[in-house]
Structure formats: structure tokens, C-alpha cells
Symmetry: C2
DNA sequence: TTACGGAATCGAATGTCAGTCAATCATGAA
DNA sequence: TTCATGATTGACTGACATTCGATTCCGTAA
């Protein structure tokens, strides 16, 4: 600590930012490695280089930390999706792309696998973090006459749980990854678009996601 | 123990049946009272009038006991539904009635409320226990040209998670009970029937369920 | 009826954690 | 430099799920 440079903001505030960041980071690493339940607060605190008790001045409970971890994953994915879809013209396609991409991420990235138990936690985080986009898309597409949705929030809530359930089954190996296609079709059907249109929409080629 | 009457079957086998039954019973009572996590094996064992260690000669873990409890609830509900719907002629209506009834039960009976956390457990039990009926109905309705389902198991899996998610939100008070109607409509849309037909099907009057 | 081997049961003991708290330490204002 | 504030620490507590050696109970055979 001989050559600490004076920072524009207070030292405490800086450290708190670092600590919260480090904790979410460590939580993410440990929880996606061994699962939320098997992760211990001790290991997370150690990895974040923080006392075991300190965690509780940032997060009220282990569950709250888990939620923070998951929300970060969701928010980051939502932004990456948004970056691609804001060039789309068909609002229905925006929703289709979003849904599809979330499923690919959830089933493709090993780090999601362990998070996927605790379905309510994941689904709720997905609802909150991606909801603003998804609900907006559902409403846009409905206004455009493409979808027939009366309660976009409800439709999105149902979609999140379905996505989590199917993803869980896929990562467990009880369903093949190929069901993703049909899952998207079903989610589109649920928007009130016809089955044929849903199938067409789900089959469209889609651009790659920017890396994250 | 002076006047034990000799039973037709071995004493041990009889007691084992009683014990398993008593444990699932006690588990049901305690878990639906305070929630699966807050229920302690000690309390359940006490209520079943059995040593704490004995539980583990019937169920490998607390989770396995919880699953047994939930499966019993599901199976019983499935049978009660089946008793009503086998008089229906429209196969689509059978599915609609089933879905609707499960939601009413899940959101209406206080004893479900606490079970509803652990969404994966509930949804999986629902998938297994009611799946044989639901999948059959989906396939019947598809064969009749009413629904357009290619993978009935997948459609049912998605439905179970949606049902659990919405029910959870309703029992938490974050959604009004009135969303049940629209949820049924969406689940019917997901079968590939059109939106208008879905709405009509969901709006039909339905007979009462036999008590359980 | 009595004796015996093994299965079923018991419940105290174990180990693991999440979460607490009294003692320290660092920060920044005066 | 001094000191009050509040952030941090890590040993500790309490709660449980699960285990395991001791004990009881059954069914059988003499």
C-alpha cells in the first residue's frame, strides 16, 4: 500500500464497488461450477477474498446473492440480444429470435446447467431482466396485427417457465437439443399467431449473436 | 402387546405399509403447512410416530419424500379429473378442462401453496403423473384435427412449467386469480388451435369436480 | 413354548453450513 | 494527528439432514 494513488472517489466507496463485483463474480464461478445449493458462502467469500461475514453486508442471504448472479447473466444476455434485434423490421421475428437465443444459451453454455435447478429463481430473473424487451416485442407485434396477445406480461411469464423447463430437460439429457426448434414454434403459437405462421417464423435463418 | 390378533399377512409387511403411508401423510401435512424447506425430518418422523432414522429406510432423502408427497397429490387430482372427462366427447375440451382444473386446484387449495416453490419438482411430478392422460388427450385432439401438435410430450412439458409458474405468481399475489382464464387460452393456443377457437374452448361451462 | 438370526427401528451423535456478533481495522473529517 | 464512524473479520452458534451402533421385534424351527 506504499504507492496508492489518490482516486477521485472515496476509498470506501471504491472498495465496496470492487467487493460487490467480486462477490457476484465469485458467486457466479462457484455456483455455475457446483450448483447453487452445493456452493458454500465460505468458498465464495474466499474466492472474492473477503471475510465470510462480509458477504452479508452486501447480500441479505445466499439466495439473494444467487439472484444477483443470475440477474447479471440475464441482463448481459438481454443486451446482447437487443444489439442484434434492433435491426429487425418484423416485430414478431424479434420475439422469435429472443426466445430462441435464450434457449440456445441456456442449453449450450455449461455454466447455465447448474443454475437451472431452482427453476422459479431463474424464471423470475428471466421475467424481470428480459421482460421489458420481451413484453415490448409482444405488444409491438400485437399492435402490428402479427400476434394476438391481450396480456403480454402473462404470456411472457408463461414463456419463461416453459423455456426454463425445457432447457432443464435438455441439459439433463432427458430431451434432445433438437426440441428447441419445436419449443420455439409452440411459444410462437401461444402468442395467437397461427401454427403455420409460427412454423415459418421459427424456421427463418437468424444472424449470429455477438460474443459475450 | 398382550392381545395382538394374528393378521393374514406378515406383521412386518403390514407395518411397512402403514409406515410408508404414515410418512407420506405426515410429510404432506407438515410440508404443505410450512413449506418443503422449513419442514424438518424430525417433525415428520414424530408426526408419523416413527424414529428419525427410520424415515431413511423408506426414502433415500428429504427430497425423495417430498416427491412422494407431491406425486400422491398429483395422482389423486389426475384421477378425479379423469372421472369427469371420460364423459366428454370433444377431445380438445378434455385437455382444456384438465389444464383449467389443475390451475384452480393449485391456486385454490392452501395446501398447494407451500409446495409450489421448488417449481421443477412440482412440474416434473405433474409431468409424470398427469402426463399419460394429458399426452393422450393432446394426441386424440390432434388426430381429430382439433389441435396441431407434433410432439405431445414436449407440449405437455411446457404446459406443466407454465401452469406452475402462473400458479406460483397467483398464490404469491403478484397476479390476480383472474389470469387463470387467459392462461388456459394461451395453453390452448400453444396446441396450434387458432386463437379464436382457443378462446371459445376456454370459455365453455364446465362441470364441477368430484370432491377430494 | 423357547430360542435364535436377521431385519427393522430407534435416537443420539456427526458433520455441514448459513447466518451472527463482538472485536478490529481503515477511512476521512476536523 | 486524532477520533468517530462504519466496514470487515472470522470464530462461533444453532439448525438440520443424514448416519450408525445399539436395541427391539418377527418369523421360524426345534
Amino acid at each position: 500500500m506504499t504507492e496508492t494513488s489518490t482516486k477521485p472517489k472515496g476509498r470506501v466507496a471504491q472498495r465496496q464497488l470492487r467487493n460487490r463485483e467480486a462477490l457476484v463474480d465469485a458467486g457466479h464461478r462457484v455456483m455455475s461450477e457446483k450448483g447453487i445449493d452445493a456452493a458454500t458462502m465460505q468458498e465464495i467469500a474466499d474466492l472474492a477474498d473477503v471475510g465470510a461475514g462480509t458477504v452479508y453486508s452486501y447480500f441479505r442471504s445466499k439466495d439473494e446473492l444467487a439472484i444477483a448472479v443470475i440477474e447479471r447473466v440475464m441482463r448481459s444476455l438481454a443486451l446482447r440480444i437487443e444489439a442484434v434485434t434492433d435491426t429487425f423490421s418484423d416485430p414478431g421475428q424479434v420475439y422469435a429470435f429472443g426466445v430462441r437465443t435464450v434457449m440456445e444459451a441456456a442449453t449450450g453454455d455449461i455454466r447455465w446447467k447448474q443454475l437451472l435447478n431452482r427453476a422459479e429463481v431463474i424464471a423470475d430473473a428471466m421475467f424481470r431482466c428480459m421482460g421489458p424487451f420481451a413484453i415490448r416485442d409482444l405488444e409491438n407485434a400485437s399492435r402490428a396485427g402479427r400476434f394476438k396477445v391481450t396480456d403480454a406480461a402473462l404470456t411472457w411469464k408463461m414463456a419463461t417457465y416453459s423455456i426454463v423447463g425445457v432447457s432443464l430437460a435438455v441439459t439433463c439429457g432427458s430431451l434432445p437439443r433438437s426440441v428447441i426448434q419445436e419449443t420455439v414454434v409452440r411459444l410462437l403459437c401461444a402468442t395467437g399467431i397461427g401454427e403455420a405462421d409460427a412454423r415459418e417464423l421459427a424456421a427463418r435463418p437468424r444472424p449470429a449473436l455477438p460474443k459475450g
